[in-house]
């Protein structure tokens, strides 16, 4: 039986699934319900200074739906906790006492003055919480007051606040990063320089989910007006995965622990984040969509997958995919694939054909000998994978690597690895880049 217990920065939890700092972790009531369902830990909804903030009293959320109204993306304009600091601290203390085996981390956001941080850190320490997370990510409301992503977008501020926190508390410090920047490595490096123990990412992405076409106002609409919010949910996962990978493979931050966040909905999403270097994961939207019970699927699924793969503990696979994240220029141009359509599985919808015909390389038939039939024309197929992605049937179309000869280029395919860096079409090619014999045409 694989061991799912997690030790992130010395913070122990029975599994790597934490609830992210968000509405699900705003109160003792919710957190206790989550722990009963089996969540490994929580990052308490962000605390601020009194007087506590207020939220809008109209709608806070907007959403993007897929087929069957499956929620794909959620946008919110909620702020940090809107309950008095004292109430939150009392509840945190109680929860930690009642649930000693679970991780309880407290998210914080106070103005950018050392004294403000010193004060709040002292009070949080009294709760005996396991650590703190600095909310430098929130893209709405708080940022307009010089907090949240307003700090997260300036690496110097991140470094400064992280340093204060490390100076004034014994608790582990996690810096939560905003994705609303161009290069995630800079804030990560700043957090590391400031002495932070870890980064967590991503926070929400600035967004407008829709426009009410009667009111001509952004959604969610409050009295005829709307404001950008923060976007999360399954739709943001690819963005988050990339940012996690960027930090995990950056030579400067490769040893910086990461807590992965962004659209995690199933055990598989979690495993992917962890394979890209996240030591644990945080979940919000999936819980807000389906309730806390989803953690049971996550725990069981991860456990089963680990057992099947022969992994005994989380560390056996954390970061395992990181070495395989590379730059485009190092991808093997001699890896030639062709699409293959499994005629047994094919339902003849023709989506592969029209996608390829209209928007790609005219490499899939629609009629063969007068019969509706979809088949790949190797002499045209560039192996792009579009047909695989648009096919509604799983595994009906797959990519097959071919060797020796490419009927499209009508050239032999070199058996050895060859990339762009030494390609003759590359004006900056370095023929001595350590790659032998590139046969250019096969790989054009």
């Amino acid at each position: 039986m694989p061991d799912l217990s997690s030790n992130f920065l010395g913070i122990k939890s029975p599994n790597p699934f934490w609830l992210a700092s968000a509405p699900p972790t705003d109160k003792e009531y919710n957190v206790v319900r989550a722990f009963r369902e089996g969540w490994g830990g929580v990052v308490w909804k962000t605390l601020g200074e009194d007087p506590h903030i207020v939220n809008v009293n109209g709608p806070r959320y907007g959403a993007i739906h897929g087929p069957d109204r499956r929620l794909l993306g959620l946008n919110n304009i909620e702020l940090i906790t809107d309950r008095p600091l004292e109430v939150n601290l009392r509840e945190i203390k109680q929860v930690k006492r009642d649930w000693p085996d679970r991780a309880v981390v407290v998210s914080l956001m106070v103005p950018c003055e050392e004294e403000n941080w010193v004060n709040i850190l002292r009070r949080v320490e009294e709760t005996e919480a396991d650590g703190i997370e600095l909310n430098f990510g929130c893209p709405h409301g708080m940022s307009e007051r010089g907090m949240g992503s307003a700090v997260g977008q300036v690496p110097e501020y991140i470094e400064m606040v992280a340093r204060w926190c490390k100076q004034h508390t014994r608790m582990p410090v996690i810096v939560k990063l905003t994705p609303n920047i161009t290069d995630i490595r800079y804030p990560a490096r700043a957090a590391q320089k400031g002495g932070a123990d870890a980064v967590s990412l991503i926070n929400t992405i600035s967004s407008i989910t829709g426009v009410d076409l009667d009111l001509f106002a952004p959604e969610p609409t409050i009295d005829g007006k709307g404001s950008h919010g923060g976007y999360c949910g399954p739709a943001v996962k690819p963005i988050a995965l990339n940012m996690v990978a960027e930090i995990a493979r950056d030579p400067e931050t490769r040893n910086l622990p990461i807590s992965g966040i962004g659209g995690i909905t199933t055990w598989k999403d979690a495993a992917e984040f962890m394979a890209l270097g996240a030591g644990n994961v945080q979940v919000c939207t999936a819980a807000m969509t389906y309730g806390f019970k989803i953690v049971r699927e996550m725990v069981e699924g991860l456990e089963r997958w680990m057992a099947e793969k022969g992994f005994e503990k989380l560390d056996d696979f954390v970061g395992r995919a990181v070495p395989n994240v590379t730059d485009w220029q190092y991808l093997n141009l001699n890896y030639v694939t062709k699409a293959r359509i499994d005629q047994e599985l094919c339902i003849k919808c023709g989506r592969c054909h029209i996608a390829c015909e209209d928007t790609s390389h005219q490499a899939i038939t629609h009629t063969v000998d007068g019969v509706r039939h979809f088949e790949v024309i190797d002499a045209e197929c560039v192996g792009c994978n579009l047909c695989v992605n648009v096919c509604p049937v799983e595994d009906c179309i797959t990519m097959e690597r071919i060797a020796e000869y490419d009927p499209r280029t009508k050239k032999p395919i070199p058996a050895e690895y060859g990339n762009w860096t030494s390609h003759p079409n590359n004006p900056m090619a370095r023929p001595d880049a350590g790659i032998e014999k590139i046969v250019p045409d096969a790989a054009e």
Binding site: P67, D68, R69, C346, I347, K348, C349, G350, R351, H353, I354, H366, R372, P392, V393
Partner: protein
């Protein structure tokens, strides 16, 4: 199963025939003859629409006789644009509302749906089509405008699906149309034939009103070709003529006792049923036997049952696969409590005092592809026997013209464009040879003929 069903040839117990009205509680009629399938709610429609894969060169569209762009209209439903979806449907099939209710989709569009291959469950195209067309019809909108008047006049004979479809398309193209309809009401079999539970609440009439909103169409009811006007006079008075006459005749059984009271032609009885406002006043037998294997047989049997008949049996001379009623229709009959007996053909109707008391049947089988009687007979007791053994084209209306219309296999011969053998005369629907005897096929004929007429008139 009928307790008198075996070896009772000629020995049916004598008694008064039990045919009467009001077999059911008053409320039961409304319930029994309400919508067979209630319409999809907006939520159901969205969930169902999401199942469509938006196929390329979609098999469903190819399977629809009117070539409705089904993936496009379903996508419009998905995009919260049901009226746009309706327009896509009406562009190809102005009777898309009726077709959504009566098409045997399991042998048309839905049979072709790729979801059958994927998971044996097609997208509910018919229901979605109804959802969209209902939305536009409820809004009282007519999606099309007439082209500038062409000054041409076209006579359409018969206000059934073929004639209505033809008239609408001609009106759209700017021509003035006069429809001559022998019956009191327009609609053809939509009004007089289709099962009541497929088109409740006067839908046939509403659809005609919807379609006429295009303008430029005058309907003259109670006016029959061959009785009130001649084909020659129509040819002389109009620039073109379309014949959508349907099938006025029914096949005779050619068996002894056929004329006994209690023996009736199913189409005629269904027409009576469709025109009966208070169904509790319509008499039906306690035991009903329906002879035939098509939709008419199923409709007569099911509606007898719904009127309160206790025992209803369809007898058909071949096996289930040979029945013209689709598997779905056969199943519907069975779920409504109708017994279907295959491999039996009528020998004679057993009459008592001039009234039907039963039917004697001979078992059949197939030998080298031919149907033969086995000589073994049995009898079923019956208070009513319905004949649903096919309708025929009655050429009387077109007889006596200076030049005769060519007939093929007993119906009017037409070419691809639905032109008859006579210049200036087109035909479509059930009355033409080689058709499918479906509402949707009649609509297509009318549309194709209208475009051909338009080309001929403007060319």
């Amino acid at each position: 199963m009928n307790e008198h069903s075996s070896g009772l040839s000629g020995s049916i117990p004598v008694g008064q025939p039990d045919i009467r009205a009001g077999r059911l509680e008053a409320e039961a009629y409304a319930k029994n003859f309400s919508d067979l399938h209630p319409p999809l709610s907006p939520h159901e429609a969205l969930v169902e629409a999401d199942r469509c894969y938006f196929c390329y060169d979609a098999p469903c569209t190819q399977a629809c006789p009117t070539s409705i762009d089904i993936p496009l209209f379903i996508r419009q439903i998905q995009a919260h644009n049901p009226k746009g979806a309706a327009e896509t449907i009406f562009e190809q099939n102005i009777l898309g509302g009726m077709c959504a209710r009566v098409c045997p989709v399991e042998t048309l569009c839905e049979e072709a749906c790729v979801r059958n291959l994927a998971e044996d469950k097609p997208v509910k195209i018919g229901f979605l089509q109804r959802f969209a067309t209902d939305a536009m019809m409820a809004a009282g909108e007519q999606p099309f405008e007439r082209a500038a008047p062409s000054g041409r006049r076209v006579a359409v004979v018969g206000a059934g699906p073929a004639g209505l479809s033809c008239a609408h398309r001609l009106a759209m193209r700017g021509h003035d149309v006069t429809i001559l309809e022998a019956r009191e009401k327009p609609g053809g079999l939509n009004e007089y034939g289709i099962a009541a539970y497929k088109t409740p609440e006067g839908f046939a009439r509403k659809e005609v009103d919807f379609l006429l909103k295009i303008g430029g169409i005058a309907i003259e009811t109670g006016k029959a070709l061959g009785r009130d006007v001649t084909l020659d006079s129509l040819k002389a008075d109009y620039d073109a003529v379309f014949l959508g006459l349907g099938l006025a005749g029914v096949n005779a059984l050619g068996a002894e006792g056929e004329d006994a009271s209690g023996s009736a032609d199913a189409v005629g009885w269904i027409a009576e049923l469709r025109q009966t406002v208070d169904l509790s006043s319509l008499p039906v037998g306690r035991r009903v036997v329906v002879i035939g294997g098509g939709m008419t047989a199923v409709d007569a049997a099911v509606q007898s049952k719904l009127l309160g008949a206790e025992e209803v049996t369809i007898v058909y001379r071949r096996g289930p696969e040979a029945m013209k009623a689709s598997g779905f229709e056969q199943e519907l009959a069975q779920t409504k409590g109708v017994t279907i007996r295959h491999w039996a053909k009528p020998k004679r109707l057993i009459a008592e005092d001039g009234h039907v008391a039963g039917i004697e049947l001979e078992r059949t089988r197939e030998e080298a592809g031919r149907l033969v009687g086995t000589g073994e007979t049995f009898a079923l007791a019956a208070d009513m026997v319905f004949k649903a053994i096919g309708q025929t084209f009655v050429p009387a209306a077109i007889d006596g013209a200076a030049e005769a219309l060519a007939i093929e296999a007993g119906r009017i011969r037409v070419d691809e464009e639905r032109r008859t053998s006579l210049a200036g005369i087109w035909a479509g629907g059930d009355c033409i040879a080689g058709g499918e005897d479906l509402t949707v096929a009649a609509v297509e004929d009318g549309k194709v003929a209208a475009e051909s007429i338009h080309r001929a008139l403007m060319g």
